[in-house]
Symmetry: C2
Subunit: 178 residues, 2 copies
DNA sequence: TCAGCGTGTTTCGAATTCGAAGAGTAGGCC
DNA sequence: GGCCTACTCTTCGAATTCGAAACACGCTGA
């Protein structure tokens, strides 16, 4: 399991072009990517061991388990995860093979596929969840006191809203008019 | 390009097991992963358009261009990126095919492979870099004022050091005896 | 010198990912 | 009704990723 070691020298990137640029400005960029990668790796190991789930699979099951009904359309799931539609189709198929969820037609919109958690799926996610949360605490939250956690959330929320506001660059490109 | 939509309800995960757990505690976790994914997607699109590079490939070239000599061993690169050794071998091969870098034996340690940037590689990274930094500013840094950026860096640095301090969970497993 | 272990890298097979293309439904407009 | 655009999902092929195993070198100790 390899990981980003340090980002201090990455800040010198600006030197390559302008020689003496403001590298400090980009430190949050590298820090963000590195921290995220480290967290995700740590979490993946635990999920694999405890429930033979990839992080993506866990996210799908966890998202379904949030709602009482435990049903979502493919699009609703894809919009919240970082995977392509085709990639989601693949993973949902895998989970369906294992009997953790089912797929069926939607009553409201016949184009849609409704994904629903099964009893096995519910049981698995509930079995995995405590350990998952423990690992998240261990590798991430323990590094922060309450104030830091709130501050980090506030900053990342700003970032999220900023990025959500701009077009995804490759989805639903600017309509010809209006 | 699909992305995580919201994380507010993911916080209810705790309800699935304990019913009424402290979901707010885990908000930084989801916010971190989501923000990172959004940033990375935005950056990838630009790199693909401007230099036909994946994010990983860009990272490799950028890391090499940091040092004046422009040489690194495979392990040194892998330790700083989030890819397996085998994955790094693959990507370095791709870049070598394009003439952006070369591989050769190390004088100091004959087990090592030394990766060096070529003139083409240097030219490419310097051509791509300004646009890359512009996109990073646009999608990430513009969301933060100077103080926020510094604060975010401080928090992520805490997280990084915390995570770097613990064993990677699957590398160099606990030795049989001290 | 030889065995044995740790380290550095690549090869190999399998799993996962994406984008583009295809099939089908929804809704607006004539 | 018929057409056209938008939306939903899946299939397909290609690229990328990983872990385990293989391979090679370096060091230590007998």
């Amino acid at each position: 399991m390899c990981q980003i070691r340090s980002n201090s020298r990455m800040g010198d990137m600006a030197d390559s072009t302008g020689r003496g640029g403001p590298p400090a400005e980009f430190t949050p960029y590298f820090a963000l990517l590195e921290a995220s990668a480290l967290v995700q790796h740590g979490v993946e190991a635990q999920l694999r061991e405890s429930g033979d789930l990839s992080f993506v699979q866990f996210q799908i099951l966890a998202m379904l388990s949030e709602d009482a009904g435990g049903t979502q359309t493919m699009t609703a799931i894809a919009d919240r995860l970082v995977h392509s539609r085709s990639g989601l189709t693949y993973q949902v198929q895998q989970l369906e093979k294992r009997g953790l969820l089912t797929r069926g037609p939607s009553a409201e919109d016949e184009r849609s596929t409704v994904v629903a958690l099964t009893g096995s799926g519910t049981a698995l996610i509930q079995r995995v969840l405590p350990g998952h949360m423990a690992v998240v605490r261990e590798i991430l939250l323990d590094a922060l006191d309450a104030g830091d956690g709130a501050e980090l959330t506030r900053l990342l929320e700003k970032v999220r809203q900023h990025m959500r506001a701009r077009p995804p660059r490759s989805a639903t490109r600017a309509r010809p008019r209006g």
